[in-house]
Amino acid sequence: MTDIKEKLSVTDYMSMPDDKGHFGVYGGIFASETLMQALEELRDAYEKIKTDKVFQAQFDEDLAQYVGRPSPLYFAERLTQQVGGAQIFLKREDLNHTGAHKINNTIGQGLLAKMMGKKRVIAETGAGQHGVATATVAARFGMECVVYMGAEDIVRQAPNVYRMKLLGAKVVAVESGSKTLKDALNEAMRDWVTNVDDTFYIIGTVAGPHPYPAMVRDFQTIIGREAKAQMQAQCACLPDALVACVGGGSNAIGLFHPFLADESVAMYGVEGGGLGVDSGKHAAPLCAGNPGVLHGNRTYLMEDENGQIIETHSVSAGLDYPGVGPEHSWLKDIGRVNYVAATDDEALAAFHTLTQVEGIIPALESSHAVAYGMKLAATMKPEQRIIINLSGRGDKDINTIAKIEGIEL
């Protein structure tokens, strides 16, 4: 009986989404007819490369030789001692080329764009990490690159804006709506509709219409597959818990997905709690939102009673998004993953702790995972192990943090 149940659950997790891109009631293709042809072309191309050995070999080689994978699974001994609970391991995505997990996905989509003969790539970006990762791949493949970025984020993430420009990308400031990530995504979609013949839209997270949530996930699962093998090699066991921050949710799904069928592994997705989930000023749709439709998919959203999307707040630009990948919505509803929040203050404290105790400067996004991971580890036994996904490095955030703390650089 147990065997059957296990087999069923394995099949269930791995067979999602269905052929129309649905994860249960979530996901799908809620897009204008003007985008449908492009989405169907992309879906067909993506279906082809999933099993294409030449493509997959090229992808693996680029991850090894260009990105620098595998990224280490590092036992954070001093942090573990300080917290006094479970052993804390860090999956070091911050050590990837360009400084975050985002490059795993842009390498994959960049290769796909090349295969489809597209000469121009566009992207949206919040913190700028995905924009940098896209500009990097475009430079390497000799493609024209345009990155849409909310005007407010351009101010918050000046170093990354300069980095993208150095890489040859054009950065377009988006002045509409709340001038953040969601508006950058709207603007990129509008560009795509207009220039659909020669342009490939590299979405940076597991959101958007099908096939993006599945495709971006598949490019990011390298994180979890490596972590599983590394944990096996280091301790001959599975971890007891996984912790990752969730904005759109690509680093989290990348870590979680290969472990979904391992029921002994608990999982925690940490949203941007802003000033506190009760304050209403946060970016935590899974903790405090409702299902709705935005950016081509059905998922949990931050919305008002009229169905208008409301502005989010997070100290971290990468988490400042009112939606979340539809697979996370499904994983929440079926109870497989726990979704929690860390506040701005908790993330900032964790930022300093990790920097001082381990000599690792984490991105503000990843600091949310560190904050909750430390809290969680403290409640666990010393023989237990947790993996925190250190999705990016914090160099890009030092201006923000200095400003918050009243320090002039």
Partner: protein
């Protein structure tokens, strides 16, 4: 017979030659809540056959800057779906003939529930619903909910629509279909009439419904050209641009906007009728 079907039938048979429908698009409560009702009546007076009423959404992904700003202006007044229902109810008190369709994005409908939305929309006197981000492939519950209340589900077609998707649309659409005449967002400038003609002919092989063409229609001349190869002409950004003349707060300000829009529609009407 639905108001939309009735209207298209009349246009074909009334008068000495068949006429094409003129469909203006305005956003509800843009630039002020007080302007929309008198504007709707004035547009009918100026020659509009069907009114397309925009429902604002915070994230209008398929719209260009003109309609985006219209949505932002409307949302400054917290315009809700219920406000749109009230507006159409008022309109119906003195105009029971002119079809009104609402156009917007899915989430404001999703939050109400399809059934509840459809029931209230029909009660208020709305005739059709065009939801930009609701394609036929996702519409298994949406279409029956609208049709159960006698509402026409209106869908978009594009230059890139394949025969397979046109056929799928033909199974669920009613009222009319809306052909987006170019690749891009609303308010784009160029219009290639020859390619519109070719695509409309292709669509007619699969669909019996009237075909309206929108996007890129900026003056009487382009309206007439598009009318010559379709059943209806949708004009949006060109008239929505007039909403920035003033704030529409006073009676006098509103009458200036209404006059300008009426003049555009009258000139389009006469150009289309000269065909």
């Amino acid at each position: 017979m639905s108001r939309l079907a009735q209207r298209f039938a009349e246009l074909k048979t009334q008068g000495d030659k068949p006429k094409k429908a003129l469909i203006p698009y305005v956003m509800a409560s843009d630039p002020s809540p007080e302007i929309t009702l008198p504007l709707m009546h004035a547009m009918v007076e100026a020659g509009a056959d069907i009114i397309e009423l925009g429902v604002p959404f915070s994230d209008p992904m398929a719209d260009g800057p003109v309609i985006q700003l219209a949505a932002e202006r409307s949302l400054k007044h917290n315009t809700s779906m219920h406000d749109v229902f009230s507006l159409v109810s008022e309109f119906r008190k003195t105009d029971d003939k002119t079809p009104v369709i609402v156009m917007g994005y899915l989430n404001p409908i999703e939050v109400m529930g399809y059934q509840s939305f459809a029931q209230q929309a029909a009660t208020s006197g709305i005739d059709g619903v065009l939801t930009v981000d609701m394609p036929p492939v996702e519409a298994d519950e949406y279409v029956p909910a609208l049709k159960s209340q006698g509402l026409d589900p209106i869908f978009l077609l594009a230059p890139t629509s394949t025969p397979a998707r046109i056929k799928k649309l033909a199974e669920v659409a009613s009222g009319f279909v809306y052909y987006v005449s170019l690749k891009g967002v609303t308010g784009a400038a160029t219009l290639d009439v020859a390619s519109v003609e070719t695509k409309v002919a292709e669509i007619r092989q699969f669909i019996d419904l009237p075909i309206a063409v929108g996007f890129g229609i900026s003056d009487a001349d382009s309206a007439a050209k598009v009318a010559s190869c379709s059943d209806a002409v949708v004009v949006g950004s060109t008239i929505v641009k007039k909403m920035t003349i003033n704030s529409g707060k006073t009676e006098q300000e509103r009458s200036i906007i209404i006059k300008e829009i009426s003049e555009i529609l009258s000139s389009m009407r006469s150009a289309m009728d000269r065909l």
